[in-house]
Structures are given as structure tokens and as C-alpha cells.
Amino acid sequence: MSNQPILEVKHLSKHFDGNGVLKDVSFTLAEGEVIVVVGPSGCGKSTLLRCVNGLERPDGGEILLDGARIDAGADLVQVRRQVGMVFQSYDLFPHMDVLGNLTLGPVQAMKRPRLEVEAEAEKALERVGLAEKLHALPRQLSGGQKQRVALVRAMLMHPRLLLLDEITAALDPEMVREVLNVVLDLARDGMTMMIVTHEMRFAEAVADRVLFLEGGSVLEEAPPREFFHNPRTDRARQFLDTFEFDAVK
């Protein structure tokens, strides 16, 4: 493993209509590391992810991917070929079957031979338990199945870094599990990931580090054990308490 981090974010700031959404956010992400970003809604988690692959333009600070700056001058198409992203709403292409969804990027963007990509896609689909869905249309899949396909679609680009933006937020509980198992597998295989999630147990299990964001600032950055069991700030403690329920009786 090289010493240079895959991702460096330095003093990042972003405003929407004069409101600071991100304020002076800095962190680094090493190869094979998984960082989980948590915080109340509207704290800037999603914006932070979207800045990393150029879907949003930051107003200040810098983002370095493998040491190269991502900014106005950077070739964002090239950046996105190295940084995969999966969204809450899956966003599979509804007019293509699963195989078409999976091969579009590698074949068109990366110019790889179709047959080779199809063989790889089949294998990858099998790994997430969806081998028989190769020719299904997205509308014929459950939410959990769609999200697993979306994950495979991102992984077939062989990204340096994978961004997951609340990928289980729209799913029924039993489907959450099947999707998160895929993510845990990826983490075990050494995939570098930046994950925004509200699944705190999952966050604790998968994270190497937790970033607690509030009002656009990083309030805490700590290993998961420390953050979830011994948060330093009151705000983080309050936030974590909202996931607990006291017995009614």
C-alpha cells in the first residue's frame, strides 16, 4: 500500500444561495479504507459526496484524487471513471435490461470488448445472488435487487473509490440486509469507500473511521468504536440517542 492517500479533502466549502452547506471540511482516505459519514439530515453529507466526483462544484478548498486536483479545469469524465457512485434511488436505466445496465459504462466509456465485459458482468451478478436476473428489466426487480445491480454496475468500472449515498434509505428492512451484505463483502475485498448512511449498526461494522458532520462542519472524526460508544461532543451524543428507544412500560 502506498503512502499517498487516494482522497484528500482540504478546507472544502460549498454554499447554496448564501447558506454554507460545507464549511472547512478536511479529511483523507487511504487505499482500502472505509470512511462513514453520519449526521442529521441537511448537514451536508450528500453534498460532500457529490463534490468528490464533481457532481457539485465546491466554492473553496481543494479535493485531490490520487494527488491530482479535481477542480474546474479537471476532466470530470475521467474523474468519474475512477470514482463510482451509487444513489438512494438506484437510478438503473429503465429501458435496458440488467446486462445492458451493467455493460454500458465499461463498453462505451472504457471501450472494453463487449464479450469480455458480459462475462465479467455475469460473474459479478452471480456473486450478489442475481445470476438469474441477467435479462430482467429494472421494473421487474425488487428495491433490494435493483440496488445490488446498481452496486455491481458501479463496481464493473473498477473504481479507485466508491461513494455510497444512503443506498438503503428507500428499502424495506429485510432488503437492507441483502444490500449491506454486498457492501460488507466489498469492504472485506479492500474496496476504498466513502459511505453516507443512517444504518448505525452497519456503520459501526463497516467503518474504519467515522466522520460526524453537523451544519456543514466536521464535529468529530474517530474510529467507530470510539464514536459510537464514547462520542466526545454533546451534539454527537444527542444524535446517536435519536436512534435509541426507551421502553414504554
Partner: protein
């Protein structure tokens, strides 16, 4: 009802229908090209072109085709540009149709979820690849009903070309009424001729629309 009359002049209607159809189809094809260009200028936010497209669309949609046609046929010769009646007709139809097609295509593009474009970007597609493989197929599926309605509308609008002495269906009917006073027969044949042209087009678009709907995209929102 004078059936001899109908029989005698039916070939004339057939010939005129051919002209109406030819001008209509050329006009529709060119309208789609103009509409697509306007739409893309707006979609990619091309400076200057985007404003030109906006002005053109408003101008074309808010003036009657007859006025546009008179401008081309009687106005342009005054500045030294003389176009044949047929060229005027096709140009006029394209001018009008381009604006309507631009709006139909725009509504299709706007119906494509923002997440689709972002997903395309996230698998490293270039903007053009994204348009071609992800956005346009879905936009066209949504726009097909509007495009079909415009196509039929444009063929019907060709009826104003009789005003610049183009021997289309309307012209033949007016001519026959003027010469023989067989108003009922002439108008009956005119109606039948337009229906013969337009009904098949209408049916083709309906079938196409239904096919796309069954294919599961083009507005059909699916639950999770």
C-alpha cells in the same frame, strides 16, 4: 349525390393527396431536425443559440401559418428572394413545425429523471454518450405522443397552402366547387381524402405509444 362527378374527379384528389402527403412528410422530417437542434441548444445551454431558439419558438408558435406563408410568398420577393410555391410551403411548414417539435422534444427531455443523467455521468459516460444511450431513448419514448399529434397537426395545416396556389387537396376542392358548384361532393371527397391520409398515421402512433408503454419506460412509474 353525383357519383359520376365523384368518379371523374377522384384521380385529381388522389394526385393532390400525393402532393399534400409529400409536402407534409418532408415538412415533418425537417421540423424534427429543426426541433431537435433547438432543443439541444437549450439542453446544452449553448450561449446565443439558446436565446435564438427561444425567440424563434415563440415567434413561430404565436403567429398563424397563413401569415408566415404570405410573408414567404409575397413578402420575400420584395427583397429579391423568390421561392416557388412548393418551397414556400415546405419552408413555412418547417418554420411552424420546428417550434412545435422543439417543445415536444423538450417535454420529453424534461420528463427524464435528473438521477438518470447523474447515473450516466457516474459510469463515466461523456455528455454525448449520456444523451445517446441514457437520456434520448427515454425522452423520445415520452415525446412520441406529442410528436404524433404534431405530425397530424402539420399535415392538416397544409390545407392553408391552397392560398398560395399550390394544388394540394384543399385547392382542388375549392377549385371544383368554383367551377361546378358541386359543393357536397367536393367536400365529401376532401374529408375522405384527409381521413385516408391521417387515420393510418394516427393508428401507427397509437400502436407505437402503447408498445413503448409496455416496454416499461416513458412515464410509467413503477413502485419499488
Amino acid at each position: 349525390m353525383d357519383f359520376d362527378f365523384i368518379q371523374r374527379f377522384a384521380p385529381m384528389y388522389a394526385k393532390a393527396a400525393g402532393l399534400t402527403l409529400r409536402i407534409g412528410l418532408i415538412g415533418i422530417a425537417l421540423s424534427l431536425v429543426v426541433g431537435a437542434l433547438c432543443c439541444l441548444a437549450k439542453y446544452f445551454r449553448v450561449p446565443v443559440l439558446k436565446q435564438v431558439a427561444a425567440v424563434y419558438i415563440e415567434l413561430a408558435r404565436n403567429t398563424p401559418l397563413l401569415v408566415q406563408l404570405f410573408f414567404l410568398y409575397f413578402g420575400l420577393p420584395k427583397v429579391g428572394v423568390k421561392l416557388s410555391a412548393e418551397t414556400c410551403a415546405i419552408t413555412g411548414l418547417t418554420f411552424l413545425g420546428g417550434a412545435y417539435m422543439a417543445e415536444a422534444l423538450r417535454s420529453g427531455l424534461e420528463a427524464v429523471d435528473r438521477g438518470q443523467a447523474e447515473s450516466g455521468m457516474c459510469i463515466g459516460l461523456t455528455p454525448l454518450q449520456n444523451l445517446r444511450f441514457v437520456i434520448l431513448p427515454q425522452a423520445l419514448a415520452t415525446a412520441i405522443p406529442a410528436i404524433g399529434a404534431n405530425a397530424i397537426f402539420l399535415i392538416k395545416e397544409t390545407s392553408v397552402f391552397s392560398a398560395v396556389a399550390l394544388a394540394d387537396l384543399m385547392y382542388v376542392a375549392k377549385d371544383l366547387i368554383g367551377m361546378y358548384y358541386k359543393t357536397d361532393e367536393a367536400l365529401l371527397m376532401l374529408t375522405v381524402a384527409y381521413l385516408t391520409l391521417l387515420l393510418p398515421i394516427s393508428i401507427v402512433f397509437s400502436v407505437w405509444e402503447r408498445r413503448l408503454r409496455y416496454a416499461g419506460f416513458g412515464g410509467a412509474v413503477q413502485g419499488q
